[in-house]
Amino acid sequence: MVYRKSLTEKMIDVLLYAGMIVLMFVTLYPFWSQIVLSLEEGASAYSTGFMLYPRKLSFEAYRLAFHYTPLWTGYLNTIVRTVLGVVLILVFTALTAYPLSKKDLPLNRTCTGFLLFTMLFSGGLIPNYLLIKNLGLLNSVWSLVLPGMISAFNVLIMRNFFRSIPESLEESARVDGAGYVRIFVSLIVPLSTPVLATVALWVGVGHWNAWFDSLIYISDSRKQVLQVVLRKIVIENDTSNLNAMIQKMSTDTKYTGRQLQSTVIILSIIPMLVVYPFVQKYFVKGVMVGAIKG
């Protein structure tokens, strides 16, 4: 069916495209402005305003930021928590989701209800804090990894995916004498790479961006994650360490903590910006799967 567009509709098209381009500019500009500011030569960075490109290109701010150790310990701590979090969450979520995918599993409804209730109600800030404290997990990476280990949402996504795997496959494996554990490890898990990838990316971004747990559970600054290091510099505006370093490192005193703020912002989101376009479709898939009513 070919639908011919009238002249007015063509004009609407033009407006639509123009509007979308403006919208994309507005969406990207905040990030772009930080890139420009970080690449600007020191002196001209004072007046920010609208900057579409660096008036005088300079990588000095990046050279300085590379010598700012808290940033890199933060980076390392974030990588550790992300890797640990992703691996463990995948393992335990899959272990929990597979039994629940069996509709005739005894106690299935009780267990699912038990799981779902955690989506509706939580103990709150202080009870969680006291729990971590009593478990002796303060200042440990485990305080960042263990509490979020089982999320009802992830379990439901995986459970629904497992349910979509044809029953006949499992039955033939059972006829061949394989037990459930064997079926899970060598049949279900290999068939579930799409959902595992989706959950892994999801959890990975969550851990990369997480900061509140680290802010309240970690007081040792060497164990602090990247986001909290960033928060100190960018939000709490504590650039004293940065400024001290600039004075030590650079004869060019035009560089200020203010400009280095943009530089550390860019450095912290580069991994996301690089990976994001390639993995974006997996995230979208995850939303679709999750949208199916449990």
Partner: protein, 320 residues
């Protein structure tokens, strides 16, 4: 979960599980039941123990005794909350900010999805989608950092104001603008991502509907209004329920990283207040009481709205 919605007739048809049948299933699935154990241990420790810990709201916290051995004080901390003028300030702020976010933020992804669907170029459309999702993946620490620059005295917004002859405004410290900034930046962060679900629903619309309408002479706008939008109603109602349930979440991550002493009266919300009285002032019992108040109201909201929708629209539009 789907079992809960199964028609009763179907349930009765299922063979009743006698004790023998039950035992047989326990034996059959013993390995899988064991598999469930670690996950549920985590749930008990990290979800259910803190829920139990919420009883601290009715106790006077003693560091030496912990939650279990602290003495009961009844409703003392709830009375304190209801007599605390600042409690009403944060409650009001939470509701106002949430309401504005819902009012202005809820329609944006729907509109965006419908307009996006009108784009003919597939490549262009994919680009627009990819870019619009991006802010969703950036933490509020980074976003706040960027917005603080953008709204600063030397930032582009003030530059524009100067260009039209307006006096510069210290936006982040101005009570008149702060909530608008919260709402605007929150829409910026979430509109693209929020549109995914509507785009999927649009993709699921039977093209024959559009073809029939075209034959009848309906233009694009008419079809948008009388086909696309009505077909989105089930999804829209589910999304509305979801957001009703979280009306007391005004956006802790965002506000905690954007607010400051100057705008406290308009920006302080329940979550930020709970954080400050709890972890900054170390008033554990009071903080837990305010937090518990919020959790309970939120729970009632979710259950209540779901029930209402169930009576009006049948099972199809509800959450469970």
């Amino acid at each position: 979960m789907s079992d809960l919605g199964a028609p009763t007739a179907y349930r009765e048809l299922r063979p009743r599980a006698g004790p023998d049948e039950r035992a047989r299933r326990f034996v059959k699935y013993r390995a899988l039941l064991l598999m469930l154990v670690p996950g549920f241990v985590f749930l008990i420790i990290f979800n259910y123990i803190p829920m139990y810990g919420a009883i601290l709201a009715f106790k006077e916290f003693k560091i030496m005794g912990g939650i279990a051995n602290s003495p009961w004080v009844g409703m003392k901390y709830f009375d304190k909350a209801f007599n605390d003028p600042h409690f009403y300030v944060v409650l009001k702020n939470t509701l106002i900010i949430s309401f504005y976010k819902l009012l202005f933020g809820f329609p944006v992804p729907i509109l965006f999805a419908i307009l996006l669907n009108e784009l003919a170029g597939r490549r262009f459309k994919r680009w627009v989608q990819t870019i619009s999702y991006l802010p969703h993946f950036i933490s509020w620490i980074v976003l706040s950092g960027i917005f603080i620059t953008i709204f600063s005295l030397e930032g582009p917004i003030n530059l524009l104001l100067k260009a039209i002859g307006h006096l510069p405004v210290i936006f982040m410290a101005d009570e008149h603008y702060f909530r608008s900034i919260l709402v605007g930046t929150s829409i910026y962060q979430s509109f693209g991502w929020g549109s995914i679900i509507y785009l999927a629903a649009i993709a699921g619309i039977d093209p024959q509907l559009h073809e029939a309408a075209i034959i009848d002479g309906a233009g694009r706008f008419k079809r948008m209004l009388y086909i696309t939008l009505p077909m989105l109603v089930p999804v829209i109602s589910i999304m509305l329920i979801l957001s009703m349930g979280s009306i007391l979440d005004a956006g802790f991550d965002q506000i905690f990283n954007m607010y400051n002493a100057q705008v406290m009266d308009v920006a302080d919300i329940i979550d930020t207040y709970v954080y400050r009285i709890g972890l900054i002032n170390a008033n554990y019992s009071y903080s837990t009481a305010v937090g518990l108040f919020k959790s309970v109201v939120a729970l009632i909201l979710v259950l209540g709205v779901n029930r209402i929708v169930k009576t009006i629209g049948g099972n199809e539009h509800t959450l469970w």
